[in-house]
């Protein structure tokens, strides 16, 4: 801005300027062309599968060799003396624990790199910056990330149409929220609602205590995966676990009011004990827990932080998904 002051206002002679592509104002953020993009996933998926197959088989081979070697060595030691074998086993155990810790740490770093965290922070700063036009590059990244899914791509194309060169960074972010994120939020919340309902039903009908825990675990993992997919994160199994771990970390800091009692109270009032069996209550608790987990997953996967007025509400989510569950037995009971 300061450098511009000594250029005299007026018509510039033709050919005197060189366009700077994509630096500041890029009215059409470069998106994968629809045709190209439609053919891309199958190709890339095949490549990814071979890569995974190669990596997995190599890893299996190496770890198999190491495990067999170590087992043979241990057996050898035990043959000589039980004490020697015990020491060897301790050593190997120590090494494997350290290895696991190391891999976990590495993986966390990897996840942190891949995470939407940095994008969220940058997004937050941009959403505060009115009258600035420096965020188009970032918006391009954001669009590229979100356009991974089919719905995401359609929405991003709408976004590309709606944004004009006269929108400043803040407006660009607001438009992204309105056009792209709002529908995605709804899809993610629908996934959470489904999962909450499934776990609630599963936990309340399962005959054995162990099984409902398994149901909850399996369904929650699937939910987190679905939520991540909605926001274009393409999660692998391991990254879902890492995501869940990070969600728990944030959960310890986040002040989330416990609404379980609230929701139950609102729906059933003082008749709770008389109306629902202990099993159903267990199921509802499991559903509420899943819903809360889902909200944490949404917060972690969403590329931009929520503003206060569009943050999803646990109570609403729970009553939407579990309300019918609570109502129907209550009405049929008498």
């Amino acid at each position: 801005m300061n450098g511009e002051t000594h250029i005299k206002p007026g018509i510039l002679p033709s050919g005197a300027t060189t366009p700077i592509p994509g630096v500041v104002i890029e009215p059409t953020p470069s998106l994968p062309v629809p045709v190209e993009a439609l053919s891309l996933p199958s190709a890339s998926r095949r490549a990814v599968r071979w890569g995974i197959a190669l990596g997995a088989s190599l890893g299996l081979l190496i770890s198999g060799v190491i495990v067999i070697d170590a087992a043979l060595w241990l057996a050898d030691l035990f043959d000589r003396s039980v004490w020697l074998g015990g020491v060897g086993a301790l050593l190997i155990g120590g090494v494997s624990v350290a290895l696991a810790g190391f891999i976990g740490g590495e993986y966390r770093n990897l996840m942190r790199l891949r995470s939407a965290q940095s994008i969220r922070e940058q997004g937050y700063h941009l959403s505060q910056a009115s009258n600035r036009f420096e965020g188009r590059g970032f918006m391009n990244d954001l669009v590229r990330l979100t356009a991974n899914s089919r719905t995401g791509r359609l929405l991003c194309e709408q976004y590309r149409d709606a944004i004009a060169d006269t929108h400043d960074d803040r407006e660009a972010m607001q438009l992204f929220e309105r056009i792209v994120l709002r529908p995605l939020d709804e899809a993610a919340q629908a996934a959470v609602r489904r999962a909450a309902r499934d776990t609630a039903i599963g936990a309340s009908v399962s005959p054995i205590a162990g099984i409902d825990a398994l149901i909850v675990l399996w369904r929650s993992l699937r939910m987190v995966r679905e939520v991540a997919e909605v926001y274009g994160l393409r999660p692998t199994r391991l990254s879902v676990l890492a995501l869940i771990r990070r969600m728990f970390l944030t959960a310890t800091f986040a002040v989330t009011a416990d609404v379980v009692g609230d929701v139950l109270g609102a729906h059933l009032g003082g008749r709770l004990a008389g109306l629902v069996s202990g099993k159903l209550a267990e199921g509802v608790f499991a559903g509420v827990r899943t819903a809360r987990l889902g909200l944490l997953a949404i917060e972690q996967c969403r590329p931009l932080p929520f503003t206060d007025d569009d943050r999803p509400n646990l109570r609403q989510l729970v009553s939407q998904s579990l309300g019918s569950l609570l109502q129907s037995p209550g009405q049929q009971a008498p």
Binding site: G10, I11, S14, T17, T18, P27, F133, R178
Partner: protein, 509 residues
């Protein structure tokens, strides 16, 4: 569909419960299932018709009406604004799946609730020439529509699906009738005349006419003696001469804005009786004003003008506006030079008095105004690069505020904006003489081919004397872009949707 069925079902459940409740069934018929079934069907029908009736009633009761006035001194771009606004609104409800219109910041469009927009002329006002204006903009070689001269309006009925929790429970769709009225901003200049006598007004106007660029203008009206005998012909000659003087003041090169009485320039409809306009500023008569002289006759006409034109406008028209948009050609004022700029500030201060609703404001003392939101907008924002919008807004605010930076608009929510009803230029980031700058690309009026230009910067405060001498302000007018390609999506603009959201957005719950 979901929301339509739910209350009906609830209602049905209630009736259902009562008809199958043990006592009810025993009383009616203890044995025949057939009869019970009939009762059920009847109850079902009654419930659904009651539900439908309640829904219709709720829809009718919740229909809202809002008058939005768009005003501005001449050349501010009222006509183009109205045309673009109506057209974009009309198309917003007709977008195809996956298509994005030009109003993403207008909530009913953004949240996907807008079902239909019906445009129609208003019953009590002349119709705004929307379609002819639109045709001119959509032609292969488009032109800006000619400006309107009087009061006109157009209605837009926006039917939408409520997105809020409460609204969804009450109705499926509901309608907001937005009546958009266009009136000349010049009419607002006359408010202060209401508290002036003819002598006071004459003195003020004569003083003004002897200062600045006005002093250079001659006119037969300056020669009129207050003691001369009055005749209709002499009075008419005075009106014609004074009106001509005002017109010269308004035209370039003077481009002045504070021109009283504003109605002389924009009398309104063709059929207006101009006999009440037969007065002009008159130097005070020495001694008493005798009947039969020009001074006496003009004083009568002055009072009649106030009684027949100024008061009725505020009482019947202005008081009915719920929201107002005041368009100001800030860019044009900068182009026209310091004297024109200062004169526009005078005019804007006079305009602002019409929006004072609190306490000692003249308007508050004389009339009751319904206007609770006013948006002041600097038009022609496409004449500058996008990074100057912020300064454009600040400058507009500085122009309207008094010297201490205060805005005397108590009791009204105000906001400032930079907008352009038709976006004629594109912003491009280029390298020029070793510097990265943002330039405008567009076809300058009468130039024929698109060019790039560096429009310079808008000061964020009132320009200093050095700003005026350094040839800093030279903003070009542009040719409207050809809209053929974009016909289905509407007219590209700058911040039209945000203005709409501010003015009427709060009605869509």
């Amino acid at each position: 569909m979901w929301s339509r069925q739910r209350p009906a079902r609830k209602l049905f459940n209630i009736l259902d419960d009562s008809s199958v409740s043990p006592t009810g069934v025993t009383l009616l018929s203890p044995s025949t299932d057939d009869f019970g079934q009939k009762v059920l069907t009847l109850a079902d029908r009654a419930a659904s018709s009651i539900a439908t009736g309640a829904r219709l009633l709720a829809e009718r009761a919740l229909r809202r009406k809002l008058r939005v006035a768009v005003t501005g001194l001449s050349r501010a771009g009222k006509t183009v604004f109205l045309t673009a606004l109506l057209h974009n609104l009309h198309l917003a409800a007709r977008l195809k799946e996956g298509q994005t219109g030009h109003l993403p910041f207008f909530d009913p469009v953004a949240k996907g609730g807008l079902e239909d927009v019906t445009l129609r002329p208003l019953a009590d006002l002349p119709a705004f020439p929307f379609l002819p204006n639109l045709d001119r903009l959509l032609e292969p070689s488009p032109e800006f529509p000619p400006s309107t001269t009087g009061l006109s309006g157009f209605g837009a009925a926006l039917r939408y699906r409520p997105q809020g929790l409460l609204g969804r429970q009450l109705v499926d769709t509901t309608t907001v009738d937005v009546e958009i009225i266009d009136y000349p901003g010049e009419w607002l200049l006359d408010l202060s005349m209401l508290e002036q006598s003819f002598e006071e007004w004459s003195t003020a106007m004569l003083l003004l006419s002897h200062t600045g660029p006005r002093a250079s203008l001659s006119g037969a009206w300056r020669e009129i003696s207050p003691d001369a005998p009055a005749s209709e012909d002499a009075l008419e000659a005075a009106r014609v001469s004074y009106t001509a003087y005002l017109h010269v003041c308004r035209q370039p090169p003077l481009s002045l804005s504070f021109l009283q009485p504003g109605r002389f320039l924009r009398p309104g409809d063709d059929g207006v009786d101009l006999s009440a306009f037969r007065f002009c500023p008159l130097s005070p008569a020495g001694g008493d004003v005798r009947t039969g002289t020009m001074a006496a006759a003009m004083r009568d006409r002055f009072e009649r003008y106030k009684r027949e034109f100024v008061r009725p406008f505020y009482e019947d028209v202005f008081s009915g506006f719920d929201r107002q948009l005041v368009l100001v050609d800030v860019v044009g004022a900068l182009n026209a030079g310091p004297q024109s700029f200062d004169d526009m500030r005078l005019a804007l201060n006079a305009v602002l008095r019409s929006f004072e609703r609190d306490g000692e404001g003249l308007l508050a003392r004389l009339f009751r105004s319904r206007t609770d939101k006013v948006l002041f907008a600097a038009t022609k924002a496409d004449h500058v690069t996008a990074n100057q919008f912020h300064n454009l807004r600040l400058l507009l605010r500085a122009m309207m505020a008094d010297d201490a930076g205060r805005l005397p608009v108590g009791g009204v929510e105000t906001e400032f904006a930079a907008l352009s009803a038709v976006k004629c230029t594109a912003n491009k980031r280029v390298l020029y003489q070793g510097q990265q700058i943002t330039v405008l690309e567009g076809t300058i009026k009468n130039h024929g081919a698109p060019e790039q230009l560096f429009p310079g910067e808008i000061p964020e405060h009132l320009p200093t004397p050095e700003d005026w001498t350094s040839e800093r302000f030279r903003f070009y007018d542009f040719q409207p872009p050809s809209l053929d390609r974009d016909r289905e999506r509407g007219i590209p603009h700058i911040h039209l949707d945000k203005a709409l959201q501010f003015l009427v957005g709060d009605l869509f719950w």
